[in-house]
Symmetry: C2
Subunit: 293 residues, 2 copies
């Protein structure tokens, strides 16, 4: 990899995830917080209308609108389709390459602590993730490779990543998580500054990576209505092992439903509010220990 | 008080408070759960459109639309104004008196456990509250008398109360809180059944009541934007004493702001998501020990 020349921090891709919204507003007021000598940092609010209305989105999920085809398609004209095109213009001004890195700020109602979701397996991203998880035990690292065609913002550049923080309710600021997210952003910026200057911080050569291998939906009736809730024993247990036979759901009538998979998995995004409508009660991941150079 | 003849359980007055929505759906499917021999129980979903869209409301907060004047005013015609009139018709069919009691089911992102908010100081409501808090230590009791003109549903009948449960995020079901709310509803119904049959359960003759005496807003700039968050030491500390000089907010720049009141108060609704737009960071209450007969 060449130098990192431009990096973008995006908050409020979902309008009711306030941590990113208010961090970006803070950075816009005080750019010196995110300026580094060797690269340019942009700070950008994502879904402006949804932020104003305190909703995730207006017509459709903005963070599913960044697929190449959709961005070229003039017939796609919902607010989010148009906003995705504006953001693309901002991140890729005429006759310039796309920003080298995007830090896309999100929160979740799942208990995911400070999660990094890597846009790809670029060696520099893996080294960054290993470094961040070695200096802060709250940092966990996920990837979700099969989502590459899903229109996520993080896939738009070479070094895209999401910071996904929780548990925090939609429409709420949690001061402790706000400050932890802020410090994590500074650590990313400092790492890239070190990289550009040939001074990468000493790091671990192993990385614990949770790779999404699929999703589990809520039990539903024929009309599509959910018939069960996350089991109390699974609630807030993101990144903990889920074994075959462990309780996973509890029906409204109080009947337990057990996990029927064949091997131990590590669920994340357990009981994420925004995923009820997407048919996702949780993602299941496999834990890998990567050796990195 | 005469007999209780009809009672209504309302869920989803706010469309993204799922506990009440799914409890009412359960009761509608299995009315025997809420039937009692001495009175009729209705189960009703509140804001149908907002429930379908997973939002608190469409145009305005339904649970502020039940003021006498508004219900008579044909020029008020937002979705919620019209729905409030429909609900009034449902709770008061032609030539019948209004339902005797309403149990209005809500959730909050504040850590309020199982809170009863009493619509008034009717002796039977106070006795009920004393009984429920004596059998379940998670039950807390609030009242908010100055809100009587605010158009809350609970003020529409003689024995109105809210069950306010948290902390739970908007758009999320928490199975444990769902089951606790359900059991609390059954305890209310059983208590009224006993009352009608002249067999009121033995109860405590004291009641710890948290009376709202006002609200505190977030610090805001001239444009009305918030400039601080709930202080980490206050987050989730509903019903705990807040003393003059205790930290209350933390600005985005990291500066602490301290409580400047003159005496100890007991905050509730700390960091409720839906109250950011209402200018409420928390309600402050005074704790009273009531002697009841």
């Amino acid at each position: 990899m060449h130098q990192i020349n431009r990096l973008a921090i995006v908050g409020g891709s979902h309008g009711n995830e306030l941590t990113g919204v208010y961090l970006v507003k803070k950075f816009q007021k005080s750019p010196s917080l995110i300026n580094r000598s060797s690269f340019e940092t942009l700070a950008l609010l994502g879904n402006l209308k949804a932020i104003a209305e305190g909703r995730r989105y207006i017509d459709k999920d903005l963070n599913r609108c960044f697929h190449h085809q959709g961005l070229q398609d003039p017939t796609l004209a919902t607010y989010e389709d148009l906003r995705a095109k504006e953001i693309q213009q901002f991140l890729q001004p005429p006759n310039q390459p796309f920003v080298d890195s995007i830090i896309d700020l999100h929160t979740t109602t799942a208990n995911m602590g400070l999660t990094l979701i890597l846009g790809n397996m670029h060696p520099l991203l893996l080294q960054l993730a290993a470094y961040l998880s070695s200096i802060n035990p709250l940092v966990k690292v996920c990837s979700h490779q099969q989502a590459r065609t899903s229109g996520f913002l993080r896939f738009m550049c070479e070094l895209g990543l999401v910071i996904e923080v929780g548990a925090v309710a939609q429409g709420v600021l949690n001061a402790e998580l706000f400050q932890q997210t802020e410090q994590l952003i500074y650590a990313v910026l400092d790492y890239f500054e070190g990289y550009n200057q040939g001074k990468i911080p000493q790091t671990s050569n192993t990385l614990k990576l949770y790779e999404s291998i699929g999703v589990i939906d809520y039990p539903r009736n024929e009309a599509g209505e959910i018939e069960a809730m996350i089991h109390p024993q699974l609630q807030f247990q993101d990144y903990q092992p889920l074994n075959p036979g462990d309780p996973i759901f509890l029906t409204f009538a109080g009947k337990e439903i057990f996990y029927e998979g064949e091997s131990t998995v590590y669920p994340v995004f357990i009981n994420e509010a925004a995923y009820y409508e997407k048919g996702i009660a949780m993602h299941i991941t496999q834990k890998q220990l990567l050796h990195i150079d």
